[in-house]
């Protein structure tokens, strides 16, 4: 950065200010997970403690909500990755009737506001007398994650050289064998990226879930419900742990990608 102009330095500083602004609520969340508070509200700093890490699962409803969130995210991610990878392969590799309509639907699913998606799903479930529970949440989460998996897998498929698969077939591999030993390893980074995105979207979702949850409560729903009475410090701790695990996975993924190339 030798000879950097004054304006560039100013922009550099400005970029850091924006980063600090974006990170400040996270820092506060982490810090107040260590707050030795005595009253119900967690608003002033009263000393350092690790108590909330020890009492992490002492609020039964919150623990159930967290478990629901993780189970729903896991199941919906598995479904989304399987059917989304299939569609990504079809769109990236094949010509077929209805491809234009399919592309439009994939785009529509990404761009529909969450609120409208949740409202329309509830209209369907109400019209069909479908009881709302964890299953309707899973169905909805697959719907809003699907397009993201399709897009990331398709992006990977179009960079794939078709002659590799042809070579495998010429050497006597079955269609399934070719897919498992040639195609799937080659598109794996796209599939994994789609899976992580889909898991993260599911864990994070409040709006759509709030329409289709029935009496099942997830982590984000529980927190919003607790805003009026005061957020317990355990929520900060759970948020901190989710944040830490997510960042670790992202860094490990970046390192692995760099090593591969």
């Amino acid at each position: 950065m030798r000879g950097a102009r004054f304006g560039d330095r100013l922009l550099h500083l400005y970029t850091w200010l924006v980063i600090v602004w974006l990170s400040s609520p996270i820092a506060v969340m982490i810090l107040f997970g260590f707050n030795d508070k005595r009253s119900k509200s967690n608003t002033t700093w009263q000393g350092f403690t690790l108590r909330w890490y020890g009492e992490l699962f002492d609020i039964p409803d919150l623990t159930v909500a967290l478990r629901n969130t993780l189970v729903i995210a896991l199941v919906s991610t598995v479904i989304t990755v399987v059917i989304g990878t299939m569609l990504g392969l079809a769109l990236g590799r094949h010509r077929f009737r209805g491809k234009g309509v399919t592309n439009f639907l994939v785009f529509a699913a990404i761009s529909t506001p969450e609120l409208v998606m949740g409202a329309s799903l509830l209209s369907l479930f109400v019209s069909g007398n479908v009881p709302r529970d964890a299953n309707t949440i899973i169905v909805s989460h697959v719907l809003f994650s699907l397009s993201f998996v399709v897009v990331t897998v398709r992006a990977r498929v179009v960079t794939l050289d078709p002659s590799l698969e042809e070579a495998a077939r010429d050497l006597g591999a079955t269609a399934w064998g070719t897919f498992r030993q040639v195609t799937l390893p080659a598109i794996m980074p796209g599939v994994l990226a789609g899976a992580m995105l889909s898991f993260a979207l599911s864990v994070d979702d409040y709006v759509v879930t709030s329409f289709v949850n029935g009496s099942t409560v997830t982590f984000p729903l529980w927190i919003v419900g607790a805003v009026k009475t005061g957020i317990p410090a355990q929520v900060n701790v759970m948020g901190t742990l989710i944040f830490g695990i997510g960042v670790l996975i992202a860094i490990a993924n970046a390192v692995a990608t760099r090593r591969r190339t």
């Binding site: 924006v18 980063i19 969340m29 609120l115």
Partner: protein, 283 residues
């Protein structure tokens, strides 16, 4: 068999999108024209007046949502463009580090981030409470439950979605094109205005689309930061659906919101001279 392959691969997703995206829209269209109540049930009466009634009752919230969404989008553009510019042209080999730092908030749930702001900005919290104790702020100073808090929260929550597409567009600009402009005696400002800015417009377009629509329809920021006087249309739709069980009004409002957003997108696309909205958005 080989000719059937793409259809078999697409079939599960087609069914999912048809049953849970297309059919629900039809169901919502149908519900929006029905009358009745949650106890006796609803019946189709083709009452288009549901729309007039819903819009008549909630036009302030609808207009407020568009205003807040628009203000937040402009704020994101103004705040985010210089960041995207600096990272694309000046961050060198550290580009991915800066992008990662910008994405850090996404590792904390949206709801929790917003609550964290509620906590930071609370009237007697760690920020304002301290400043009030020092006598630097009047005792009745507050930010929560104001327009500023809601628009600020929306700006905060969606900012990375504005920065990323602009960054992608700027990153594609060949630095030699800028050098060529300067060799031809363009000033730095002129080179930016006539070369870099036009080349980054597809990114700006995508960024605005990715932020304006979710910001306008977002119910969380208004609920957590807005108090009682900043209700947005998202809160109304949630309440009508989930608390009042007035499905026809809620459905009519949802459709109105979507129609308004779609019209907005097309007008905006026309104004920017983009031929194909879908194509630009997909980029």
């Amino acid at each position: 068999m080989r000719r059937l392959t793409p259809y078999l691969l697409a079939l599960p997703s087609w069914m999912w999108l048809a049953i849970f995206l297309v059919v629900p829209m039809a169901a919502m269209a149908s519900v929006s024209l029905q009358t009745g109540n949650a106890i006796d049930g609803f019946a189709m009466t083709f009452s288009f007046s549901n729309y007039a009634d819903a819009i008549g009752a909630y036009s302030p919230q609808l207009l407020r949502s568009l205003l807040y969404g628009g203000l937040a989008t402009v704020a994101m553009l103004v705040i985010g463009y210089p960041v995207a510019y600096w990272i694309a042209f000046k961050a060198g080999h550290r580009k991915s580090v800066y992008l990662f730092l910008l994405l850090l908030p996404f590792f904390v749930s949206f709801v929790l981030r917003t609550i964290s702001w509620n906590f930071l900005l609370s009237d007697n919290g760690i920020l304002f409470g301290t400043l009030k104790d020092w006598g630097l702020l009047p005792a009745d100073f507050h930010v929560l439950a104001t327009t500023f808090a809601v628009v600020g929260g929306l700006t905060y929550n969606f900012l990375p979605f504005m920065i990323l597409p602009i960054y992608v567009a700027l990153e594609r600009v060949d630095p030699r094109v800028v050098e060529a402009a300067q060799d031809l005696y363009a000033t730095r400002a002129a080179a930016f205005r006539r070369v870099v800015l036009p080349l980054s417009l597809p990114g700006v377009f995508a960024g605005v689309l990715m932020t304006f629509v979710p910001a306008t329809a977002d119910p969380i920021n208004a609920a957590i930061l807005g108090g009682t006087s900043n209700t947005m249309i998202g809160n109304i739709i949630q309440t009508e659906y989930l608390t009042n069980l007035d499905y026809p009004t809620a459905s009519a409002l949802s459709f109105t919101l979507m129609a308004v957003l779609l019209v907005g997108i097309f007008v905006y696309a026309r104004a920017l001279g983009t031929e194909n909205v879908l194509e630009a958005a997909a980029r």
